[in-house]
């Protein structure tokens, strides 16, 4: 077994263990932290495949931003663990069925010969820049799908903000521009008065 294989199996084991941890952990904060670990080790596997842009972006976007907000929300929840586990056995057959289906699909897709042939990794020279190649492809061959995806995301974001935006009447807020524009003369009146004689 080469060093490459050792590293791959190490990362793969950690990813699978962390994935199990997400499901098994009782405390939702622990589950979220296990998910962070799973993302980090998945990034390690992608790094092994010389996809350094995707690997670092996974850490940057999912670990650095998405999971921070996840933790932010999960920490503020007041979760009753007993209530959470109540329906476990009732839903277990359904969950097991879904899990079995996904395992079957993955074996079917990843085990097929065509995929296995494609995935035999091409080793690139040291000066090969994955980021540059990816950028070139996205902005030439796939520019329309990429731009359309970007616009869809923008629309989704605007929609999400519009849904949560509510104007409550009678709320006192500051008008920062007005505050910045305020001059001394607006607030302060300097009165010139003669000093009074000593009594």
């Amino acid at each position: 077994m080469s060093f490459f294989d050792v590293v791959f199996y190490l990362f793969a084991t950690i990813t699978v263990m962390a994935g199990m941890g997400v499901v098994v952990a009782r405390n939702p904060v622990h589950a979220a932290l296990f998910l962070v670990l799973a993302f980090c080790s998945a990034a390690g596997i992608w790094m092994l495949l010389e996809a350094e842009f995707l690997a670092i972006t996974l850490v940057l976007v999912y670990v650095g931003a998405v999971m921070v907000l996840f933790l932010f929300v999960v920490m503020m929840l007041d979760i009753n663990l007993v209530k959470l586990r109540e329906g476990f056995w009732r839903w277990f057959p359904f969950g097991a069925l879904l899990a079995g289906l996904m395992v079957f699909e993955m074996i079917w897709v990843l085990g097929s010969r065509e995929i296995a042939d494609v995935s035999s990794a091409v080793v690139h020279a040291a000066d090969y820049s994955n980021t540059k190649e990816l950028g070139r492809l996205i902005y030439t061959d796939y520019v329309y799908p990429f731009e359309i995806a970007a616009v869809i995301l923008l629309v989704a974001m605007v929609a999400a903000i519009a849904l949560t935006l509510r104007r409550r009447p009678g709320v006192k807020t500051q008008n920062i521009a007005e505050q910045v524009k305020a001059k001394k003369a607006d607030r302060l009146r300097i009165v010139s008065m003669p000093s009074e004689p000593k009594v």
């Binding site: 904060v29 932290l33 962070v36 350094e52 842009f53 670092i56 972006t57 850490v59 940057l60 670990v63 650095g64 931003a65 921070v68 907000l69 933790l71 932010f72 920490m75 503020m76 820049s129 994955n130 980021t131 540059k132 920062i176």
Partner: protein, 342 residues
Amino acid sequence: MMEWLLPIQNLLGTAWLPVWTAVKIMVIVGPLMGAVAYLTLAERKVIGWMQIRIGPNRVGPFGLLQPLADGVKLLMKEIIIPSGSNKFLFVIAPVMALMPALAAWAVVPFNAELVLADVNAGLLYILAMTSLGVYGVIIAGWASNSKYAFLGALRSAAQIVSYEIAMGFALVTVLMAAQSLNLGEIVRGQQGSYGMLNWYIIPLFPMFLIYLISGVAETNRAPFDVAEGESEIVAGFHVEYSGMAFALFFLGEYANMILVAFLTSIMFMGGWLSPVPFLPDSIVWMFAKVAFVLFLFLWFRATFPRYRYDQLMRLGWKVFIPITIIWVVVVGGWMQTPYWLW
């Protein structure tokens, strides 16, 4: 490769590379820890002088042994673990705060040759590592099981996520100008026959300011230190920490400050390049620029009152992010014209 090392290399065989890399890591981290220790002294001295005080001057000549005394004191103190805390996460949180602050140094070039890992996606790696620093703060705040610590953690999370966007966009303009994500290439892109005028600080000046201010916010330094906010929430996320556990947070914060100073000088101020054409490029310039940026950090702390939380959010989202997006478009257009001289 240095000649005198060859016998050792032959002796170790395949173990040579990990050993040599470990030595290089030591050579970076050791002086960094020393710099962190003396940055604390510099901070107290500089702020002292700015406020017409003397600052520490009892331990050693000019107080030069003060950081050692502080270190010994922190080592001797008991680490108290609150009984209501989540013990594992409570202990691991300071490590999570320090780890990314050190890991980011792997790709920082000190001069044209001195760099641990000369990777192509260096800038992305730096962004990823600095975005991980927030976990130490969040986990510390949650694991302490204390209201003040938790409020500090929430503030810090919101602040870092907000300022990271402006920071990222500011760096996008740099990589547009340099056309590379490699930090060494970014410095070489600022090389030219006009010294200072070739640096990216000239065309990207607004981005320089935004990067610097976001860097201050990202490291939770005054005037953006709402995560600590001692007048409001005692000490924020590290209120329950004592001894070395507290010291690790401290080390992480100062290591991050030095990192931001290095990055500012690499991205905008030409790294190791000389500011005037008739002097040679050298690592000395790098350290001089870093010292200048660090002085700005201390100056800010001595000068500005703390931002109010809502104003901080307004500055990040409503001022910085629009400016950076506009400047990305401006630089993109500018680069298509013959007036782009960098």
